[in-house]
Symmetry: C2
Subunit: 454 residues, 2 copies
């Protein structure tokens, strides 16, 4: 029989449970309430890497600093500075948006210039304001920051690269950033990369980092990178920024060639909601301070090994961006094989990955392969209905123009409950293939984006 | 001090509360539970025409019937039959999906044939099953229905047009339809159009009809049309079916030319969620029984007047489809003017209308013009940042590459609370323009589409 003290304890516990559940229910019922709470709590994505931010190696020739400039946010860092040693080679990839931000135009112009062999370089990034659609003020802000930093660090202004992410259409209060340059310079250190990754978050729910090592010819080559994605609670737009550092010795032209190739199969192969930011930027900096021999011929073995490691880091960061996609609860690879060429494979993969009907079905854990058929059909990519085979994971659901005779609703439904899913479409036409990665479309995406700008 | 029996009672009560709250929370968290409630209620779209289904004129030479065949739904009509008098000219427009349904392929093949001058025709449409991705069984079902109806009505099978809408990938139980052909034939009447419009609904929240009259040369010409759209609660896919009838005398070739022109600015200019159905079909039938003189030269005044009236009916039905878009609470025109050519205007208008970020901002009544800038940028259409002007209704929000100096957040926020909105982008480059119509993206869209197929 229960004792009075036990009952008392039980009653207290149950009261607490009622309170918790009531609060949860309120949050679930009212989208607004959910958002406001989310803003306060900002819960980490269920798809975040389980171990937290990874241990990244220090890269010889690279120093980091971050600061609270109060561009828009209070009580958190919002500026990161990276100083790159003389001799660093830099490559980049940027959004092709026709309304891209002033800092993106500026980076593209500067990367087109030839750097002196002993020029150093710097990267400065602020969160809270995208400096996009800010007219002539946009370039003025970029000039103020680049000029100030060039003076402070003794660099040509043409070697200062800036990015901005946050609200669109508000002039950037760049004075708040230039006022912090002395502090930033003083704080530069080789091990500030995690803090830097945090400073460039807007409302990402976790900081994103990845690293790789390669055995170079005569020494180790290290690669470390950080990214910010689109785990936004209130801002105006998903924006993606990526910075990767390596001590490899490789000329800028060769590095740029590699980055161009790799960006296609990594960052250009992810989509959260089909909306392209005005600020997307990827910068890869190679300091050349590794003991390994310089990488020359891009077809030789050392170059191939380095490129494979760089690809791993880029892919890892790209996947982390999807895993922090707004409202994401599922991480999905859409793999199209058997296509007549890569363009058609990409068209069809993206049509599936961007289809709101496919993405909501995934959110509902519904093996709704009819919507995959629909997306293939609307894509504009070459497909022949009766040659298509569709699989969820290894489960064949449709082939020969209709549902597979072995199709089991129970098996596919069980598969759809997983956190990481594969949708595999074989077109049966040729040998080309393409994978893209995406997430599901949930109520939380609406909560986040139907909210007022704040 | 609490007594033991009191405490016991309290504990029991609290346990009950915890159970209730847990159940509620589960319901709120799982789209299923929400959807089931919605299924029962199936509330009419807030954007539905206030007066209900319009009074449509009888069209001489056109008879309608509907029946309960039990294809998938119980307790409601799901088949409509239209009989068209000998001499009727028919034109059509169909989805370009590469995975389109068997009945769509069949209609396209039949419309390519030349009809005899005294051939009658018939249209049979079922809801509940799309007969899409059903392999060779698809055409078999079409043949069974067309053949049966041709026998019953004394028509060549090549003049029987069928459509199917509903779940994808399930063989169509066409026996249930052919069993109803005698009943359908017996029920044919000139005034069954509203019942026919109801029979083809899947989970549309209202039946869609529109009409127009033209003063022809020597008599009145009447046009009446019906459509089904995408107000789905559980089916697999948005599908759009449209049937328009007129007593005008116009050869099929001329009618087809007009329909091809008009479909571009009406049905091809609407988007609910960017997902294209495998079943979309528009059929226009002209019986020639009006007393007005036949329409010959398409550039002459009578043809122009008829085309304008046909356009009105098509536009009205197209807008009704958007107003019954899944989860819609706002009806939005995206108007792009000042474009270098129509293709660029269309690209940009569609990028805005299909952007999940723009659509969620509208749902949140947020005048988030930064997202319009983003969508213009990502569209691939020709735009120059500093020449763009953006208006919500008449309110200028941005021009000259940044926010308008007169911008008032209060005024634009008040405007966004309206039910019908205009987003107007002037590119300042040329004279081409394009309007598309869309709706917002709300929680209800997720509720409807994250549900299991049922």
């Amino acid at each position: 029989m229960a004792r009075k003290s036990d009952l008392k304890a039980k009653t207290k516990k149950l009261k607490g449970k009622v309170r918790t559940l009531r609060a949860k229910l309120e949050g679930a019922a009212k989208p607004d309430a959910g958002v406001k709470k989310a803003k306060a709590a900002n819960p980490v994505s269920p798809l975040a890497p389980k171990g937290g931010f990874p241990a990244l190696p220090a890269i010889a020739g690279v120093e980091f600093a971050s600061a609270e400039a109060g561009v828009r946010y209070k009580g958190r860092t919002d500026v990161m500075l990276v100083r790159l040693a003389p001799g660093t080679a830099i490559a980049g990839a940027f959004t092709r948006s026709s309304t891209r931000a002033a800092c993106v135009h500026d980076c593209q112009a500067k990367l087109a210039l030839k750097a002196g062999p002993q020029d150093g370089a710097a990267i400065l990034v602020n969160s809270g304001n995208a400096n996009a659609f800010t007219g002539f003020l946009g370039q003025e802000s970029v000039n103020a920051i680049s000029g100030g930093l060039a003076d402070a660090l003794g660099l040509p202004a043409s070697r200062v690269f800036t990015s901005s992410t946050g609200v669109i259409g508000e002039p950037l209060p760049h004075d708040r950033i230039t006022a912090k340059l002395p502090d930033l310079k003083a704080a530069l250190s080789a091990d500030g990369i995690e803090a830097a990754a945090r400073a460039i978050m807007t409302t990402d729910t976790f900081a994103k980092g990845a690293a790789a090592e390669v055995d170079g010819d005569g020494g180790k080559i290290c690669i470390a990178g950080i990214a910010k994605g689109s785990g936004m609670i209130a801002p105006d737009m998903a924006t993606m920024l990526v910075y990767i550092f390596t001590d490899a010795a490789i000329p800028a032209a060769g590095l740029q060639k590699m980055v161009g190739r790799l960006v296609d199969e990594t960052f250009n192969a992810i989509t959260v909601d089909s909306d392209t930011s005005t600020s997307d930027a990827l910068i890869v900096a190679a300091t050349g301070q590794s003991k390994a021999a310089p990488i020359g011929d891009l077809r030789a073995k050392p170059a191939k090994a380095f490129e494979a490691a760089l690809r791993d880091v880029m892919m890892d960061l790209a996947h982390q961006v999807v895993k922090d996609g707004e409202g994401a609860t599922k991480f999905v690879e859409v793999r199209v094989t058997g296509a007549s060429d890569t363009d058609n494979a990409r068209k069809i993969a993206l049509a599936i990955a961007n289809s709101p009907l496919v993405k909501t079905a995934i959110a509902g854990e519904d093996a709704n392969w009819g919507r995959i058929v629909m997306a293939i059909g609307k894509s504009g990519g070459v497909a022949e209905r009766d040659r298509i085979a569709i699989r969820f994971g290894d489960i064949l659901v449709a082939e020969n123009g209709w549902r597979s005779p072995d199709y089991s609703e129970a098996d596919t439904s069980a598969y759809m409950k997983g956190e990481e899913l594969l949708i595999h479409v074989d077109l049966g036409l040729g040998k080309a293939s393409k994978s893209v990665w995406t997430c599901d479309l949930t109520h939380r995406y609406i909560d986040i984006n139907a909210d007022y700008r704040s």
